[in-house]
């Protein structure tokens, strides 16, 4: 496999973009990434678009070809990549494979989601498409509801009070205030979180990632391409792995762990020749506070049932043992489903490039972004390293 480098990032602010369509957001993000990479549009050979709900909520499919034309470069290879909420991570994974395989030299990994054109009950219907339609959606489960089942079981199994887990949301908001692209930039207290309305017991509104629109993009290229154009090659992709778990909760032995995270992480650490201690900065897929805690355990940063301790002991802070979600995470930065995985990698890239401002982790050398689809039905792990 060839070496693959990240040379440009682009993104839109996340929020309710009443005046921007799906194609507007996507084009904006990719153009920004292209300019950031200092390449020409004609250098792009392929574009991957991570997205989950464009068909259902926008009646629009075929996003790859759509954006190729909208960028003024029809003729290139392009397609939509879908893995529920891991679509962004999966899009990056495809882009990585495209360059690593040797077939392409310069590609774009992007993600976009336009959620706010629909009312909440339709978005709720869209989200549960990540799980079994016939025997999970059919019985009235919502995506929040499934995570609530995990949350309650976790608390009972490990005897952990909800406040310890809800604190994850507080952490995310603390850092989002420095992120101009974040959907929510105000801090929240634990009290705010615990007194916010219940969506699906025990999950409070402020423990759940919001609904919002956004798009993000990354330019990846080969070593040849970098040297030919004499570009800055500060960030390299050390490993990109993907794994699945039993699709629905009813097929899992232990619903308090995501096997797909463990499988993908183990493979990624092996390929990158590192262990968890070597990670300097982390982006986990905290669609809900309970997931944030569980991911820390499954990625190897804490023992099962103890992930919440890292939050309490300040280890997730910018100067902690494992700085995590320093741009707000899904909770505060936002979660435009198919784009989130790309946002995470953009944020890791900035940390490695020293562009993280007030949230800069000292001497960040290796970063990991974890993108999760469904309740862990798919997990994509991307590990990046500063080389320049």
């Amino acid at each position: 496999m060839r070496r693959v480098f990240v040379i440009g990032t682009g993104l839109t602010k996340i929020g309710e973009h009443w005046d921007k369509s799906l194609r507007d957001l996507l084009t904006e993000a990719i153009l920004m990434a292209v300019d950031d990479a200092s390449i020409a549009l004609n250098d792009i050979e392929a574009v991957y678009v991570g997205n989950m709900s464009s068909g259902y909520l926008q009646s629009q499919e075929h996003l790859g070809s759509l954006v190729a034309t909208w960028l003024g470069i029809p003729g290139i290879a392009a397609c939509k990549v879908e893995a529920a909420c891991a679509s962004g991570g999966a899009s990056f994974h495809q882009a990585y494979l495209a360059v690593a395989s040797g077939l392409y030299d310069c590609v774009v990994a992007s993600g976009v989601e336009k959620m706010t054109d629909a009312i909440t009950s339709d978005v709720t219907s869209a989200l549960i498409m990540a799980d079994d339609q016939e025997y999970v959606a059919y019985i009235g489960a919502t995506f929040v509801g499934l995570n609530a089942l995990v949350y309650r079981h976790y608390m009972e199994k490990y005897n952990v009070k909800q406040e310890k887990i809800a604190a994850f949301s507080v952490h995310c908001h603390k850092y989002a205030k420095y992120n101009p692209y974040a959907q929510f930039r105000k801090e929240v207290t634990l009290e705010d979180v615990m007194s916010s309305p219940m969506i699906a017991d025990p999950i409070h509104l402020l423990e759940a990632a919001p609904i919002g629109d956004g798009a993000a993009a990354i330019v990846l290229c080969s070593e040849d391409f970098v040297s030919k154009l004499k570009l800055n090659r500060e960030v390299e992709v050390l490993a990109s792995t993907m794994a699945t778990d039993a699709f629905s909760l009813y097929d899992r032995e232990d619903i308090t762990t995501l096997k797909a995270t463990r499988i993908a992480a183990e493979k990624a650490y092996k390929i990158a020749k590192i262990s968890p201690e070597d990670i300097n900065v982390l982006e986990v897929h905290d669609a809900f506070s309970i997931l944030g805690v569980i991911h820390l355990e499954d990625l190897g940063f804490a023992k099962k049932g103890e992930g919440w301790k890292l939050v309490e002991e300040g280890e997730l802070e910018v100067d902690g043992k494992i700085p995590t979600n320093l741009f707000g995470g899904l909770k505060a930065r936002g979660h435009p489903i198919g784009a989130t995985g790309i946002y995470q990698i953009v944020e890791v890239t900035w940390q490695l490039q020293g562009k993280a401002g007030k949230c800069q982790v000292d001497n960040a050398e290796i970063g990991l972004a974890q993108s999760v689809g469904g309740v862990g039905g798919t997990v994509v792990i991307n590990i990046l390293k500063r080389v320049g």
């Binding site: 009950s121 709720t124 959606a137 009235g140 089942l149 699906a200």
Partner: protein, 133 residues
């Protein structure tokens, strides 16, 4: 916009949804609901249809307060991860019980209920829910 209405998509699952019929692996004995072709446990393709036990207990549950459109009339309602007395696990809605009456470990029994309407003039969909014993 509602999920696309379809009669055949509902119709082909009715036996399994009405009568709690799942699969049993002839090789290792593991039972599944919904039924499937390949055993997750041992990889065997020899699975047979089996009528599952209709009683079980609640493993975990939640109260849905922000529902999809078709379940709005029932809000707040309870969904649970249930383990049947024959070991099969499934997800189902609980009925005839108030949210505050539900607890982990609670014993429940299957009951045939109206699940939803495809639309006001579309077909009615039926299935199994669980209620306290």
């Amino acid at each position: 916009m509602m999920v696309v209405e379809s009669v055949p998509r509902y119709w082909r699952e009715r036996k399994y949804r009405y009568r709690l019929i799942g699969s049993e692996c002839k090789k290792c004995g593991k039972r599944y609901y919904p039924p499937r072709r390949v055993c997750l446990n041992c990889g065997s393709r020899e699975l047979v249809e089996v009528k599952l036990v209709e009683t079980g207990k609640v493993v975990s549950y939640t109260v849905i307060r922000v529902p999809p459109k078709e379940f709005q009339g029932l809000t707040p309602y309870v969904i649970a991860l249930i383990e049947l007395d024959d070991g099969t696990r499934l997800l189902s809605q609980l009925t005839d019980v108030a949210p505050e009456e539900v607890s982990t470990g609670m014993k429940v029994v299957a009951t045939f209920r109206r699940v939803k309407e495809q639309s006001r003039d579309g077909i009615i969909e039926y299935g199994i829910k669980f209620k306290p014993i």
